[in-house]
């Protein structure tokens, strides 16, 4: 069987100029990065602002197994199938972080015959967006430490600096560090830590900014820490938002690539789905809606995190709400939610599918609460049995949600045609009537309570001491009018990763809040949230190489 990279390298790419011509983009609108990648100019983005909007399809998933449910693969394959049945389609996807590529999982550009290309470039440096974000993030850190070193006229309390450094690598040794050691010439010693770049607030900002002006205003609003009197200090107090915007100006332009099938795809921005909102950039999604008749996009993690944030945080920044939500499920994951241990997931188990369906059912009902129709996509695995597929279809029919089997990983566009057709029919039959889960004026506590009871299916909320104190402080600063970004395990509706299926009667414990004023949301941390992954004992890097002609080897 061919690996993803072998499939990708076997495809003859079309020049990106030709690929994007079908959505009305010409050579002059592009800044090429080689022949197969390009950034779209701000002029073009501005020029299409009054265009009619296409349909928007959000792809999300049930609570995943650790291997993932193939959401990106289905997103790409569905878009290719839509292209195949004659729809003028675009994709709006997140761009992957280089760090995990060196670690375990390999690429994040889809898989099999549903990939965005050139996958090697997308998984490595791509057009440099991650590097620009890393640089802007760390330039801010250097400017903060320099400010303190040079006299600290803003009165920053070096024990309460919340702005951390980042690298786009999996590097556990950088999670907790001390900086400024070695004497007075090297600054003020203090505790610090590194997150992975995609966890930087600047990544979230880049993904929510609507233009350079908005980007700069958001950067200016970042809270970097507190004074000794606990008053917040913002980037605007340092007066470096202009410099940070300068570092980021090219990164804000959405990137264009193609799928194996030739569908034009924006791949732009990739914030974490726990401490951030986990969706590609607003600028890419909005522009795609103005260029294509139908746009397929994706949100990170399961629907309780990804779709909730897409609908409550990203959608208010978009020109329109989704017209439908595709929920990706695998029979393996349903069996896991039905109580089957990892080593038995390949065996037929009808009862487990029936039991695990509770997880899918809750996600479907959640989406419907937003007034948006849901469609279930079964991402086919070789171990799926006809009886399992039949029972799942029957269960979906009982709750009147359309369901289709897809095999885009194995069959590309052709494997997604049924799903594409069902989706088009659903959109036509059930126009979406989006409503947000909570109102801006709701208190932070109310917003979280609505998420916990309406989306997670939980009972109540517990605030640890620090979080309880912060509720008061944040209200005092006027930060409580912002949306909430939940940082929770992706494996369960609850904050306990082992509580699979559709748990009930649980409380969610909020440990701490983190203000992300630039992104425009308040992160609520439930338990420990990993913002810097580590490498495994045998990192993927050990298998990587380059042929003498420059061909990437063993990327995955």
């Amino acid at each position: 069987m061919k690996t993803d990279i072998e499939i990708a390298q076997g495809v003859e790419l079309q020049p990106i100029v030709d690929v994007v011509e079908k959505v009305g983009i010409s050579y002059d609108d592009l800044e090429l990065y080689g022949k197969y990648k390009a950034k779209l100019s701000f002029e073009k983005i501005e020029a299409v602002k009054e265009n009619e909007l296409g349909k928007l399809i959000l792809v999300t998933a049930i609570n995943p197994t650790p291997a993932g449910e193939g959401k990106s693969t289905v997103t790409i394959g569905l878009a290719d199938a839509l292209s195949k049945i004659g729809q003028k389609t675009m994709i709006a996807l997140r761009e992957p972080s280089l760090g995990p590529v060196m670690g375990i999982k390999g690429g994040a550009a889809g898989g099999g015959y549903a990939q965005v290309l050139p996958m090697e470039d997308i998984n490595l440096h791509f057009t440099g967006d991650m590097h620009a974000i890393t640089t802007a993030n760390n330039a801010l850190s250097a400017l903060i430490d320099n400010h303190i070193h040079q006299g600290n006229s803003l009165g920053l309390d070096q024990r309460r600096i919340i702005w951390k450094r980042v690298v786009d690598l999996n590097d556990r040794a950088l999670r907790k560090v001390t900086v400024g050691l070695g004497g007075p010439l090297n600054g003020i010693p203090r505790e610090d830590g590194f997150d992975i770049t995609v966890a930087s607030e600047i990544m979230a900002i880049l993904c929510l900014a609507t233009d350079l002006k908005d980007l700069k205003e958001r950067l200016a609003s970042i809270v970097i820490g507190y004074r000794f009197d606990r008053s917040p200090v913002y980037v605007r107090d340092l007066k470096v938002e202009g410099a940070l915007t300068l570092i980021l100006k090219e990164a804000l332009k959405p990137n264009l690539v193609q799928t194996i099938y030739g569908t034009p795809a924006f791949v732009h921005g990739g914030p974490f789905a726990n401490i951030a909102h986990g969706c590609n950039s607003v600028l890419a999604t909005s522009t795609a809606l103005r260029l294509a008749d139908i746009v397929v996009t994706e949100a990170g993690f399961g629907a309780d995190l990804g779709a909730e944030k897409f609908l409550d945080i990203k959608t208010p920044n978009l020109p329109k709400a989704p017209d439908a939500v595709v929920i990706v499920a695998t029979l393996r994951a349903l069996k896991m939610h039905g109580g089957v241990a990892k080593e038995h997931l390949s065996e037929e188990n009808i009862a487990a599918v029936e039991a695990g369906f509770a997880n899918l059912k809750r996600h479907v009902e959640n989406i419907q609460k937003y007034g948006v129709p849901a469609v279930v996509a079964i991402n086919e695995f070789v171990t799926d049995t006809p009886a399992e597929i039949a029972i799942l279809k029957e269960l979906c029919a009982k709750i009147s949600v359309p369901v289709e089997l897809t095999s885009v990983w194995a069959n590309g566009a052709a494997g997604g045609v049924d799903l594409a057709e069902t989706l088009i029919n659903t959109i036509e039959a059930q126009p979406a009537q989006y409503k947000r889960l909570y109102q801006a004026d709701d208190s932070l506590e109310t917003k979280i309570m609505k998420i916990v009871t309406e989306i997670y299916g939980g009972k109540g909320l517990v605030f640890e001491k620090k979080a309880r104190t912060q509720l008061g402080e944040f209200a005092k600063h006027g930060w409580d009018k912002l949306p909430v970004c939940m940082a929770k395990t992706q494996y369960s509706f609850s904050d306990d990763p082992t509580a699979l299926g559709a748990p009930e009667n649980f409380d969610i414990t909020i440990r701490e809040f983190v203000p992300k004023l630039g992104a425009g949301f308040i992160v609520a941390l439930t338990g420990d949230v990993m913002t810097m992954p580590g490498l495994p004992k045998l990192p993927a890097a050990l298998n990587m190489d380059v042929a003498e002609d420059g061909t990437a080897i063993g990327l995955f």
Copy 2:
């Protein structure tokens, strides 16, 4: 008076495809980064390998004032002047680090009417080479710490890891850090530090590698640290040279841009001139020699460091040695060497010019020792007086070295025509007969002694205890056959930055050696060498901004 960025933004750029056509490069040979930047394909580099070689001109300088003598500006202006008088000319320059741009000095792409463009891009992310080097460097660090965390089967002594992390920023707080804090999940605590990216050995490697295969072999040869028995551990022991090469494969391709005048320029690689060799990439210089009739390149710092390393370290990796060396001097710097204080450099002082000439004279004689003709370029300043210029010309005539006044900063190509013509005449009249200063078989001590006595004009050598011990250890490892890379102040021939002019009878103290087996040289440290700059009280970042249309503001 217009600033550099105002001049640059006033130029109508030609598409890079058109610019490089004059040296036989076509669209298919390029990987475009926007319309005005491109990387040259490995195929083209290979295809021209048997081409006849053009003439090579190295631009260097006397020991500089802290403001610099305008070496890059003269390099660019001289090349433009050569273009203007009908020579098929290319430039091969270093690419700047982003860190200092945010600090004091602004850009490093020439100045006035002698600039490489687009200067904003070149000074910011350019084509991502710096970021690729940062990523490769730090991926190696993460893999080292992970190796120790996962059981340390190589037996690395975590107290003797010499591989440091890097960022492409001026960030003094990162000079000395502790990593791996916070408990067993976060790795092994140890002391570490960050250098600026251009100080990474990987930068030096990229600049000396002749192809991907050579790059990989050099990466494999990096010494990362020592075992408890003091035996060295190499990257090849970790088996990650393939992954590092993969991260660097695009960065190895030379970048093409244009000057204001339209001369095609390689701008590729930029290692430090103290702990590294301070020249742009071998691949760019070699390829330029195969494409153009005359190539102008530059070495960092004054000639005692930059030219010496170009001639003893880089030249053996090139297809040919320089045909001439241009030594840039300013009357301000000569007066400084003649004993004038900084605040009086703008006043006429003939006696000081005469006294300071000793510095220039020694550099001229040094170049001649390599069998290469020297030409002096006086980089004109508004404060220069006719009498000062006359006496300098007279002094040069006495030692029979050609000298020309240049005004390329103010007048562009036209300001360098005299220098260009004199240079062409010199090359024709005096064919270079290059000989290296020392032989590979010379011991480290002999090599350094030759540099100190023949180039610096010093008397002898003092080894501190650590360096003395290392001499024996390095000989045992077989590392003493490598060239020496001196890390010394650029302000004086000696290791005392205040000893201006042409000091004599001094000793050079070697504090420590650093093995750079991948780069292929041994660094000899004299005194403290700064490998991570800091930011000033009012960083340049405070004045930077972006207009709403994306135009860079206040870059410098």
